[in-house]
Subunit: 315 residues, 2 copies
């Protein structure tokens, strides 16, 4: 045990220590390990989530500050949307390094405010502290009509995704090229990375029809692996929804857009299992839960797909 | 306007920008500017708060990590207690610098866990990210039976505080001496700083009898100033509750314990206004709201008391 822990990274250790917390409180329906915690109070089911953006890890200072503010709100709303919920109230903590520019902070708050308006909820409190790097922490409380976990599909369920996949990874790569100018289609990919749209528009579909649901933040395959951890699934790799922009990007660089769709992170699209047809709502059918298992994912011709996942700027 | 802003610090700017957020949502009873936000959902009133401990600002790495974990939880519980509420569910974000010691993290979590048990609620979710310095961010949701704000006393109300004041400041000064050994009474003062006890035991008294209430984190005078911002108050400086340990500490150093009580921060005692007698519950009567006004605070002999407040390690 000791030897094992000495080989653990800090993040694994935190997972270990968190796992040791035994929540006996009956109001807690689910704590760690899903997009949000689920708690019950009276007749209501509340969703609780927190996400953080750290300078140098999740973004660079040269990114537009309004986009950072927008993204901070959106990544949290995405977690609520993936549970079929509705965001209610947010709390923010800003750790500010010395000598921040006034205009930077103003634009950052502009981005936060426009996202709050767009998603239709309010910031109700927060905290500001000194730090070495700009660090933004956002907690969000939402409400749901029923519990929808990420890892509870049934055998036979279809697997769906919203929108298109892989655009954010291509956008990040373009952004890191730090060029003087970009074409309009390149800017659209960059926008997908900088200003993701949480799919709150699809939350009512999830709420009605999902058997399992999560948002795609670490990459389609890595996240699907979490969803099907007690199952075996097939993925129709030729059916993954790809944007025209991603196809052009990959064509120019001689790379495979399907790999971007499978492994790219931060798409913030929804990954949903259902026994109903979700295609009328704009979802794409991309696979099926075929049997109980241990998270094996196969192509239709029987090759196993191994998840690599996405590790932000340091990947 | 522009010129004024250019002279603003980042913290003032954030306050300015936050002030620009207009919350029209009727579920929000109070947002920024109190110990917690107050929101209503159905018949319930929820309290939302977030507090952060940053290495080098709020604590030093050499402090016992279990105390940091304890304090992180306690400072948030103190906000809920000051509103007469009950803590329900917490969320935590840890920003971890490279190469944290496993044993440090284990002790940190031990402190968090023992505080959760002590105050009787659960951690339900969280987030871990990379950072330059250890930074701990804790969000807490509580519930209250009625709204009790910090700035709503009535003229004639008595002013009460719980416990003793100034101990934490003396404890911090002892701690910063970084000596090989301390006497037992010195260790008790240090404990007051490192492991504050949130006065959740007094929340039912606040809930029943307070007309205004807050916890003392920035120092008695600085916090009272916020409480009486629309009033004039008198403070019986000779009645401020002082511990024997603080008296010895000040006697040895030739300093005035009353100044520690007035200006020391991080006591996490409760500051409560009421038209009832709170002394049977262990509160000390320390003053009275004498008239409407603009936050002037006087001694009984008519000298005005000016707040200096407490600015953590950098004060």
């Amino acid at each position: 045990m000791e030897r094992k822990e000495n080989r653990l990274g800090e993040f694994e250790l935190i997972e270990l220590l968190t796992g040791e917390i035994k929540n006996s409180d009956p109001s807690i329906l689910r704590d760690f390990g899903d997009d949000t915690a689920f708690v019950r109070y009276g007749e209501s089911i509340f969703l609780l989530t927190v996400d953080t953006l750290v300078e140098g890890v999740h973004f660079l200072r040269r990114y537009p500050p309004s986009a950072i503010g927008w993204k901070l709100v959106s990544v949290n709303v995405s977690d609520i949307a993936s549970k079929g919920g509705k965001p209610l109230w947010g709390l923010i903590t800003l750790s500010l390094p010395p000598r921040m520019e006034v205009e930077y902070l103003r634009q950052l708050y502009g981005g936060i405010n426009s996202a709050l308006k767009h998603y239709g909820f309010s910031l109700v409190g927060g905290n500001t502290t000194k730090g070495d790097k700009l660090c933004l922490d956002f907690s969000l409380i939402g409400v749901a009509r029923r519990v929808i976990y990420r890892d509870t599909p049934k055998v036979g369920d279809k697997i769906y995704v919203s929108g298109t996949l892989g655009d954010s990874k291509a956008g990040l790569e373009l952004l890191l090229e730090n060029r003087e100018s970009y074409t309009s289609w390149e800017r659209r990919l960059i926008e997908k990375h900088l200003k993701p749209q949480a799919r709150l528009d699809l939350a009512p579909v999830v709420e009605k029809l999902a058997t399992a649901s999560m948002d795609i933040s670490d990459g389609f395959l890595a996240d699907l692996k979490k969803m099907v951890k007690n199952y075996t699934a097939v993925v129709y790799t030729d059916k993954l929804p790809l944007s025209e922009e991603l196809k052009v990007f990959c064509h120019q660089r001689g790379c495979n857009p399907v790999l971007y769709a499978l492994e790219g992170g931060e798409d913030y699209q929804l990954l949903v299992c259902s026994d109903k047809d979700l295609t009328p709502y704009g979802f794409t059918l991309v696979g099926q839960i075929t049997a109980e298992g241990k998270g094996e994912i196969y192509t239709p011709d029987g090759r196993e797909l191994k998840a690599k996942g996405f590790d932000h700027l340091k990947s």
